[in-house]
């Protein structure tokens, strides 16, 4: 098996301690969360941090809870906990639907929400979910905490607003009464990264769409979202024609690259088709169907 390059290891005792350790060890140190993105890259020797700061023991980063009108997911919550969370299932079906198709059960046992978000893989499913739901992340450093919109979180592939000596501590999502949500993914095989995924929430009130969010991943959509498609739908009835038109706008927001998962025209087609399917189910769920 491929093996990591030499590194050092320290276990953080608190968030504050982890930040202090990051400051102490500088640019070549990395936080080690679930490790299911970082360790594979270290084995390939693509990532070669000199110091790993393990935050697995930080219980303060765990837990899924409701605070006011927001759902708060701790950075060290595992994919499995998201998948099985009754709180999340009650408010957003999209979490369960997306998590069910992220990696595999063993990876989900260990991989974390914060780790996935900070890895910022351009094909990350949780990024599409986060963008669809217009969530925020809370980032902490030695001078305090700040909040960043998820739609402003990604600087580009594998880069985020989390600076050196900072920790993403939680992800927050607004609760939207009456919202229906859904997630659609096409993968070459179970456990593979998506060829394309689309997620959506829709609030239908008075027969028209009053609120919605669309997230896309693996197809080069800026910030994993499709704002023109969302704007188009507001105030419109969720008819097949309108949802199809919105899906086309979502596809227009994508800019996929060809790779072994498929050619660009196919991925653009999927952005359309999967957005449509997600919107149909989300709108139906919102209307209690």
């Amino acid at each position: 098996m491929q093996t990591p390059a030499p590194t050092d290891y320290v276990r953080a005792t608190s968030v504050a301690n982890a930040i202090a350790l990051l400051e102490e060890h500088g640019e070549e140190s990395r936080l080690l969360a679930g490790g299911h993105s970082l360790l594979p890259m270290m084995k390939l020797r693509v990532a070669r941090p000199e110091m790993l700061i393990d935050i697995n023991e930080l219980d303060e980063l765990r837990g899924i809870k409701i605070e006011g009108d927001e759902i708060v997911i701790g950075a060290m919550v595992t994919h499995r906990e998201v998948l099985e969370s009754p709180v999340l299932a009650e408010h957003y079906a999209i979490f369960r639907e997306a998590e069910k198709v992220i990696a595999d059960p063993l990876v989900r046992n260990r991989g974390t929400v914060g780790g996935s978000m900070c890895q910022a893989d351009p094909s990350e499913d949780l990024s599409a979910v986060g963008s669809a739901l217009k969530g925020t992340v809370v980032i902490e450093n030695s001078s305090g905490r700040r909040t960043v919109e998820l739609r402003d979180f990604h600087e580009g592939p594998y880069t985020t607003k989390v600076e050196a000596a900072e920790i993403l501590v939680e992800v927050r999502f607004p609760i939207r009464p009456g919202a229906g949500s859904a997630y659609e993914k096409v993968e070459r095989r179970v456990g593979d990264w998506p060829v394309c995924s689309a997620g959506a929430y829709v609030v239908v009130s008075g027969g028209v769409v009053s609120d919605c969010g669309i997230g896309l991943t693996a197809v080069g959509a800026e910030h994993f979202c499709a704002p023109d498609a969302e704007a188009f739908l507001i105030g419109k009835e969720p008819t097949e024609e309108n949802l199809r038109a919105a899906a086309q706008l979502a596809s227009d927001a994508s800019d996929p690259s060809p790779d072994q998962r498929g050619p660009a025209d196919y991925k653009k087609h999927l952005a359309n088709e999967l957005t449509y399917r997600a919107l149909v189910r989300a709108a139906a769920a919102s209307q209690g169907a």
């Binding site: 098996m1 491929q2 093996t3 990591p4 390059a5 030499p6 590194t7 050092d8 290891y9 276990r11 080690l32 490790g35 299911h36 360790l39 594979p40 270290m42 084995k43 390939l44 790993l52 393990d54 697995n56 990696a103 595999d104 059960p105 063993l106 990876v107 046992n109 260990r110 179970v190 456990g191």
Partner: protein, 159 residues
């Protein structure tokens, strides 16, 4: 660095490099070679064991991360009472051929049954979907796990 991991109930203390992967610690340092590995990229699941009762891919955990924690491997499945029903199920249902993926498959199977004693076929298939078997085409692995579900350990029944 020095790490102490409780493996199958016994404390194992070794000096290791911080980069040492748990699968290598278990195989090379603790000498328990029932845990295998088959890929570089966390895809095959041959290295599956438990950390604190949770089935994980031990190629994607550092030994350092397991310091102070409990690890359970295939070698712990058999007890004084005999083979675990999962082991017996794999024998009864021809759930293995070359045997290389088998320890990982069985550790996931035991973990599944501990959480879900009567899984559906779909749930079994999903549970092992992060593990590759090249010999069996999975059908008999699924049946082996079903067999184990239908023949729980006596202690489980009592519990």
């Amino acid at each position: 660095m020095q790490v102490t991991i409780t493996i199958n109930g016994e404390q194992v203390t070794r000096d290791v490099e911080p980069r040492t992967l748990l699968v290598h610690f278990v195989r090379e340092d603790a000498g328990l070679r029932g845990t295998h590995w088959g890929c570089d990229t966390s895809n095959c699941g041959a290295c599956t064991l438990w950390v604190d009762g949770q089935a994980v891919k031990s190629c994607t955990v550092l030994a350092a991360q397991a310091d102070g924690h409990e690890v359970t491997t295939v070698e712990a499945l058999e007890t004084a009472d005999g083979l675990d029903p999962v082991q017996q199920g794999f024998i009864e249902c021809h759930g293995l051929q070359c045997g290389f993926c088998t320890p990982g498959m069985m550790m996931t199977a035991r973990w599944l049954l501990d959480h879900n004693p009567n899984p559906s076929e779909e749930e079994i298939r999903e549970a092992i979907s992060g593990q590759i078997c090249r010999c069996t085409g999975y059908k008999n692995i699924v049946e082996a796990i079903q067999w184990a579900a239908e023949h729980p350990k006596t202690s489980e029944v009592n519990a």
